[in-house]
């Protein structure tokens, strides 16, 4: 039994950012409030603030990603950090030993922060437990487990548009089973006291006992959308069609696709969200993705501010550890 949450350092401060599961409402709200402060930076002519000047952030991506990596890169640059992009995409047969070896090599490059993406659930947790305590780790997505910065930017977007979570009905549509975005989103929504969180999709895309996450499970998208304030789509990977999970993208669109007609079942002022990239005509209609209720591009923009907030908060908490280490040596 591991009681120790590796996210917190010896001073009880958030040192790594691995999962939203287990973080309290104050912590989440604190991050959202800090992100509010950074949204202003993006609108200025000179977009940099010197909070991370002299610090090195290493992007360790063991899995392909352009969008997330770029977002982290931009956030680090706006904070005046040096950024190191390490492309580590390897075969699926990679060995744990090499992961730890890789980690040791990267540690010796004197980075202050690792942003990690890996295909194994728990990989960020593993790295945080084995990395030198002077390094802060941010989970940029681990397997099907968590994508906490995505979860926070989703919360930020919802709060900007809807305010109080307690009155909201949020619907998440599609592939919950394979989605780390859904897990982090659900976790944050529940912690923030969201009125009702619904998930809807075929049983093949639902994890076992999904209701234990604090959500209400729907089979019918029409019923799930009724009275919704927030509608979140998820990306449906092509491999789901080749693994007997769903029969075809066409049938998925017919049964669970977010069409303009279906969107009318939600509240008139409901917002439409999606972590991207969208599959138009599969999980969402192009006209909905581009429609006036869509906040999909805002999510991307807010993602920079939210990541700046997370990076500056945990880097600050890391300073205390680094100073303590320096004093000891």
């Amino acid at each position: 039994m591991r009681n120790h949450d590796p996210q917190f350092n010896q001073f009880g401060k958030l040192h790594h950012f691995l999962t939203l599961d287990g973080l309290d409402k104050e912590t989440l709200t604190g991050i959202l409030d800090a992100a509010e402060g950074f949204t202003g930076v993006n609108d200025k002519k000179i977009k940099n603030v010197p909070l991370l000047r002299g610090k090195t952030v290493a992007n360790l991506f063991f899995e392909n990603s352009t969008r997330t990596r770029t977002a982290f890169e931009l956030a680090a640059k706006r904070l005046s950090a040096d950024i190191l992009n390490v492309d580590l995409v390897t075969s699926s047969t990679k060995k744990g030993e090499s992961l730890l070896d890789t980690l040791r090599v990267l540690e010796s490059l004197q980075s202050d922060m690792f942003v990690v993406r890996h295909s194994d659930s728990g990989a960020a947790d593993f790295i945080a437990r084995h990395v030198s305590p002077s390094i802060n780790v941010i989970n940029g997505g681990d397997g099907q487990h968590a994508h906490p910065t995505q979860g926070m930017l989703d919360m930020f977007t919802i709060r900007r548009h809807k305010g109080d979570f307690e009155k909201l009905c949020v619907v998440i549509i599609g592939d919950i089973l394979h989605s780390r975005v859904a897990r982090s989103g659900i976790s944050a929504l529940v912690t923030l006291g969201t009125g009702e969180v619904r998930v809807v999709g075929p049983q093949t895309l639902m994890p076992a006992d999904v209701e234990t996450l604090g959500v209400k499970v729907y089979r019918s998208i029409d019923k799930a959308l009724q009275g919704a304030d927030v509608v979140m789509g998820l990306r449906l990977q092509n491999e789901r069609m080749t693994s007997a999970t769903i029969p075809s993208s066409g049938e998925f669109y017919r049964t669970y696709g977010l069409t303009p007609e279906r969107l009318k079942l939600a509240k008139p002022d409901a917002i439409v969200m999606h972590p991207g990239p969208t599959n138009r005509g599969v999980e969402i209609a192009g006209s909905v993705a581009d429609g006036k209720q869509s906040v999909i591009l805002e999510q991307v923009t807010f993602g920079i501010a939210v990541r700046m907030a997370v990076m500056s908060i945990i880097m600050g908490h890391g300073e205390a550890v680094r100073e303590a280490e320096q004093a000891a040596s």
């Binding site: 039994m1 591991r2 009681n3 120790h4 949450d5 590796p6 599961d21 990679k94 060995k95 744990g96 030993e97 992961l99 730890l100 890996h118 194994d120 659930s121 728990g122 990989a123 947790d125 593993f126 084995h130 681990d142 397997g143 099907q144 487990h145 968590a146 780390r180 897990r183 994890p207 076992a208 006992d209 999904v210 234990t212 996450l213």
Partner: protein, 451 residues
């Protein structure tokens, strides 16, 4: 050979319904009724006051890792760890490299085991060549070479027709099959019980149906072939139910459970603790309770170690990529000795699961087959007069704590490392107690202070 008398012990012999204060005498490798040899051979006397004397434990499933994986363990290290842990006989899993599908491999294991001078090592035959589930291995030849049972290890038998054929063939020779029920198409790349915890951690799940679908198929084929079937390492309440029904319908089915599955659940996976990554997953609390009840009511006949030693590197990886399995030899006895209180059954009934019952599962039956089983020295799992003196002397009250320095298995992959009680491991306040004081293998003193 020295004769030995163990005096004033609590003697427990489940097969003969013995549990009481008494003496046990060993002469010329077998149990005798009295302490007075007719010859002049020397006799050693051990005062076993306060200790338990019982048949040596028999493990129905353990990985010794040799040949092929000696960075994780060797026949030398693991058969020694077994004897330190109270086992006098260990059935070794066939998923070595090469797999145990040829007499050459059996011979190699036998030779290494003789040199190791630890527990008796009984190789389990692979029931298909290279464990691929495609072609029959030479079960009769392997039997003659010393493999009393055959198994699929942790490998699937995807083709039901091949499984039918294997069961018919094994039935022809009355060779018991020891099969871990898992439907590989359902289990897929799962690494944890499909339930609330795996869902929360985003770990690919292994549904209970992976076990029950495989069980239903095995039970139907057992019924139609008359094969002797031993279900290895049950994990679920529903699986227990299916075995119970099959037994009630009169089938020759037996079943075991891995010792750790009587103590742990998927709750222990929180925090991605790789020490709880097991090929047979730790399931829900309700499943664990059903497994405990099944041990108590006899649906589960035996308890095995499912010993899986690993090198450190195998566990230094994210949960899904980490090596599956727990080292069990060092911690087996303290866990076993906790069961009487936990299950509300007699110690003798618990010991039966690792002595007489286990012996019965692998024993050859007196049926007409072309095989000659006499060459094979199988443990009897009892203290009957004239039976082979495999015996252990246990101090049940000595506190136990597994430490890296004192562990005997090469694998240190135990979640109990450093724990004096299960309180810090699984939340149940169960103190760990019990130590082997002496072990005798066929009357020979193989472990313990010199006598």
């Amino acid at each position: 050979m020295t004769s030995t008398s163990l005096k004033n012990a609590r003697v427990i012999d489940p097969a003969n319904n013995v549990d009481g204060k008494g003496d046990v005498h060993i002469r010329q490798g077998v149990f005798t009724a009295d302490a007075h040899p007719n010859t002049n051979e020397p006799t050693a006397t051990i005062n076993a006051e306060g200790l338990i004397v019982c048949p040596g434990l028999i493990d129905l499933y353990a990985r010794l890792r040799e040949p092929g994986f000696t960075r994780k363990g060797s026949i030398q290290s693991e058969s020694q760890a077994a004897i330190h842990g109270g086992f006098t006989s260990v059935l070794c899993a066939p998923d070595t490299q090469p797999v145990i599908d040829s007499t050459a491999t059996v011979e190699l294991i036998r030779q290494r085991a003789n040199l190791a001078n630890g527990a008796r090592v009984i190789p389990i035959a692979a029931l298909s060549t290279e464990l691929r589930g495609e072609l029959l291995s030479e079960l009769a030849t392997l039997y003659a070479a010393g493999c009393p049972v055959a198994s699929n290890a942790d490998q699937p038998i995807n083709d039901t027709g091949v499984l039918l054929s294997i069961m018919e063939y094994a039935a022809s020779f009355d060779i018991p099959l020891l099969i871990n029920p898992v439907d590989a198409q359902i289990a897929k790349n799962g690494c944890a019980h499909a339930g609330a915890i795996a869902t929360r951690l985003g770990l690919p799940g292994i549904p209970v149906a992976a076990e029950t679908v495989a069980l239903a198929r095995l039970i139907e084929l057992c019924s139609s072939t008359g094969c002797r079937l031993h279900i290895s390492r049950l994990s679920s309440a529903r699986g227990v139910e299916l075995v119970k029904q099959a037994k009630q319908s009169g089938l020759l089915i037996t079943a075991d459970v891995g010792i750790h599955h009587l103590f742990f659940t998927d709750q222990q996976l929180l925090g991605f603790d790789v020490q709880f990554h097991s090929a047979v997953p730790f399931r829900s609390l309700a499943d664990r309770e059903a497994l405990r009840a099944a041990v108590a009511d006899g649906t589960i006949d035996a308890i095995c170690s499912d010993h899986a030693p690993h090198d450190d590197d195998a566990k230094l990886a994210p949960f899904p990529s980490s090596g599956a399995g727990l080292a069990a030899f060092d911690v087996f006895l303290p866990l076993l000795l906790a069961l009487p209180d936990l299950l509300g059954i007699a110690l003798s009934d618990v010991l039966a699961k690792v002595t007489s019952n286990a012996a019965n599962i692998i024993a050859h039956r007196d049926v007409e087959t072309p095989l000659n089983p006499t060459a094979m020295a199988l443990p009897s799992g009892d203290l009957s007069i004239s039976s082979s003196a495999d015996i252990i002397v246990i101090d049940p009250d000595q506190p136990f704590k597994l430490c890296t320095e004192t562990a005997h298995s090469q694998g240190l992959n135990s979640p109990l490392l450093g724990a004096a009680s299960l309180a810090t491991v699984s939340g149940e306040d169960i103190p760990l107690k019990g130590k082997v004081i002496h072990s005798f293998l066929a009357g020979r003193h193989v472990y313990g202070a010199e006598i």
